[in-house]
């Protein structure tokens, strides 16, 4: 089974994804944020990374860019439920979940999932990105 790294700042989601993926038979690591996630990849490599877009400090898109640059063989699934980074920032409604996920795809994500999703959705996404032809699936 493919090993999975979950990078997510929300503990409940982290735990839930871990539980679901472990049940499906995947070895799972978790990380609180992008920096921790990159450190984790350096010490113990993973086949697949599930990364949230909206995270404090290093956001998901920057994390994806770094993973694509440093670990080109890792497959990436971006997840997002939309929302704003911080209420203080002047953000338009034009920025929707789809826009975040589109940015993630441009940065190099192989698949995207909109929160909330079902267990079967994430299992399906994992099999999809696993079956992609080798090499970089990034659009850039």
């Amino acid at each position: 089974m493919k090993s999975v790294l979950v990078i997510e700042d929300e503990p409940a989601i982290r735990k839930a994804l871990q539980r679901a993926l472990v049940s499906a038979g995947h070895p799972v690591q978790v990380a609180n944020n992008g920096t921790e996630g990159l450190e984790a990849l350096k010490t113990q490599t993973a086949d697949i990374v599930i990364v949230d877009i909206i995270m404090p400090r290093v956001n998901g898109v920057d994390t994806i860019r770094a993973i694509v640059r440093e670990f080109p063989n890792v497959r990436i699934i971006a997840i997002s439920g939309g929302g704003n980074f911080s209420p203080a920032e002047y953000q338009p409604h034009a920025i929707k979940t789809e826009a975040y996920l589109a940015a993630a795809t441009v940065a190099g994500a192989h698949a995207v999932l909109t929160k909330p999703f079902r267990t079967q959705d994430v299992i399906h996404a994992i099999s999809t990105v696993t079956n992609l032809p080798s090499g970089n699936g990034s659009l850039i």
Binding site: A12, G83, P92, A102, P116
Partner: protein, 503 residues
């Protein structure tokens, strides 16, 4: 005291006549009286001398009968009332003498010598054999009456003359004052706001004609100034109304946006809550035997979680429609002004904000709230590009014409929003990527890298284009070009022929 021209002229005529007419009358009186009395006296003396010579040279003195005949003739021929001859102490009187008239023993040398209205004259007659005296009296009244009737006629003539000349003066003064009165009426109407009144007058008097022409010229100038003033005022009122409308629209939009942002934020949080619920419930469901109570309960939890997901989607749909832009033809000047007012409050005094707005500008298709956000993002970007947070940010609008492309197309008009900073500038290799979402050159945690991609997205939704010119160390200029919508025509949008990194 103020008096009218015609009144003045009438008073002048009356005054002149009051002096001239009595003088004329008394002059006439003197002339007529003198000539009539001279005539009377001359006539009377001639008659008396003839009679005296007749008596002196003829032989009538010898016969009392002939003397009496001569005396009678004197009475008949010359308004006589008394004729007598005293010869050697004997008095012979004419039988035609008026009764009651007696010789009063005097001789008159001037007309109207005494109050009895009889002119007495005595002439000595000397013959060798007689020493006689001819005594005659003539009536002065017919001559007096003649004088008086002549003076009455004179008076009548003068009265008629006075009447005619006063009438003429009044007519003349009226014709003089008519154009002046006309001017007065017209100018009063103008003062009341009726500017259509002409001040040109029909008159043969050169000065009045010229005055009317000059006043008419002045009126035309005044009407021009007045119309310009009224136009300017109504324009100001319109601009103010426009500003009020914009403000109220913005307030409305901001309220909706606040609600939308709040609802959107809550909805997204709910997505984060729902995901673990769904995943945990599914995990538990997979491990619970079917047809058990727990399995059914877990299925119920999942169903409710899906329902909650639908509710969240509805809320998101609402929040997006609440904040959705509705591009319309708007005047950008007040919108940019409002954005800069908001921005100025956010930056320190070390930053000089130069605003270059000098409308009116043609309206362009845009949404006020989105435009404000775009200006805010561009300005924030410019501010963050400044070294040590000091420098100049120049923001403004200008109209420009893209030259015709040569294939017969008309030149395109644009309204350009420019934001110029004196900051660090952008590395040439980085320029093509600056509008990408999440692209930022700033340190981690300093920004999301969404600002310029939002600017690009908003500009695109208006049919506008964004371009950038930059030089490292000198600064950066962002230009947003809004196509000017030709009157009563759709908008054309084209990204061709734009300089710089147009995206």
């Amino acid at each position: 005291m103020k008096t009218s021209i015609s009144m003045r002229m009438a008073l002048f005529a009356v005054g002149v006549h009051a002096i001239v007419l009595p003088a004329l009358y008394y002059g006439f009186n003197i002339v007529v009286t003198r000539s009539d009395t001279d005539l009377f006296v001359q006539h009377v003396r001639t008659l008396s001398r003839n009679l005296a010579e007749e008596l002196e040279l003829g032989d009538a003195l010898g016969s009392p009968q002939r003397v009496a005949n001569l005396l009678d003739q004197a009475v008949i021929n010359g308004d006589g009332v008394f004729a007598a001859l005293v010869d050697n102490g004997q008095e012979i009187q004419s039988e035609l003498n008026s009764p009651g008239v007696h010789w009063l023993g005097r001789q008159d040398f001037t007309f109207r010598f005494d109050t009895d209205q009889i002119y007495f004259i005595a002439l000595p007659i000397s013959r060798p054999d007689h020493t006689a005296e001819l005594r005659l009296g003539f009536d002065e009244r017919p001559t007096n009456e003649q004088i008086q009737s002549a003076m009455r006629r004179t008076l009548w003539v003068l009265v008629i003359y006075l009447f005619i000349s006063l009438t003429a003066a009044m007519v003349w003064s009226h014709s003089l004052s008519r154009p002046v009165v006309q001017l007065q009426r017209s100018s009063r109407k103008i003062a009341r706001g009726d500017y259509a009144q002409s001040l040109r007058v029909k008159t043969d008097i050169l000065e009045l004609h010229d005055l009317g022409s000059d006043l008419e010229y002045m009126r035309n100038q005044l009407v021009g100034v007045n119309e310009r003033l009224q136009m300017e005022m109504s324009e100001k009122v319109r601009a103010q109304e426009h500003r009020h409308e914009l403000e109220s629209r913005l307030r409305h939009r901001q309220r909706l946006e606040t609600v939308g942002t709040l609802a959107g934020g809550i909805a997204h949080e709910f997505n984060n809550v729902l995901l673990p619920i769904v995943l945990f419930a599914e995990a538990a469901l997979a491990e619970s035997p079917e047809h058990t109570r727990v399995h059914q309960d877990l299925q119920e939890i999942l169903a409710q979680a899906y329902r909650a997901k639908e509710v969240v989607e509805k809320i998101l749909t609402f929040s997006r429609s609440a904040g959705a832009p509705k591009p319309d033809l708007i005047d950008l000047e007040p919108v940019v002004g409002e954005a800069l007012r908001l921005f100025r409050a956010l930056i320190p005094a070390t930053v000089e904000l130069r605003v270059q707005l000098s409308g009116p500008y043609p309206p362009v298709r845009a949404d006020a709230a989105m435009t404000i956000q775009m200006v805010m993002n561009l300005c924030t970007n410019a501010y963050q590009a400044l070294r040590d947070r000091t420098g100049v940010i120049r923001v403004g609008l200008r109209e420009l014409l893209e030259p015709a492309t040569g294939d017969g197309a008309a030149p395109k008009a644009f309204l350009e929003l420019f934001v110029v900073d004196s900051g660090r500038g952008i590395e040439p290799g980085t320029v093509p990527r600056i509008f990408e979402p999440f692209f930022t050159t700033r340190d981690v945690g300093e920004g999301t890298g969404l600002g310029l991609s939002v600017v690009h997205g908003i500009a695109e939704s208006f049919g506008a284009t964004v371009s950038v010119e930059t030089e490292v160390g000198r600064g950066t200029t962002f230009r947003v070009r809004f196509p000017v919508v030709p009157a009563a025509a759709g908008q054309g949008s084209s990204n061709e022929h734009m300089s710089g990194a147009s995206i």
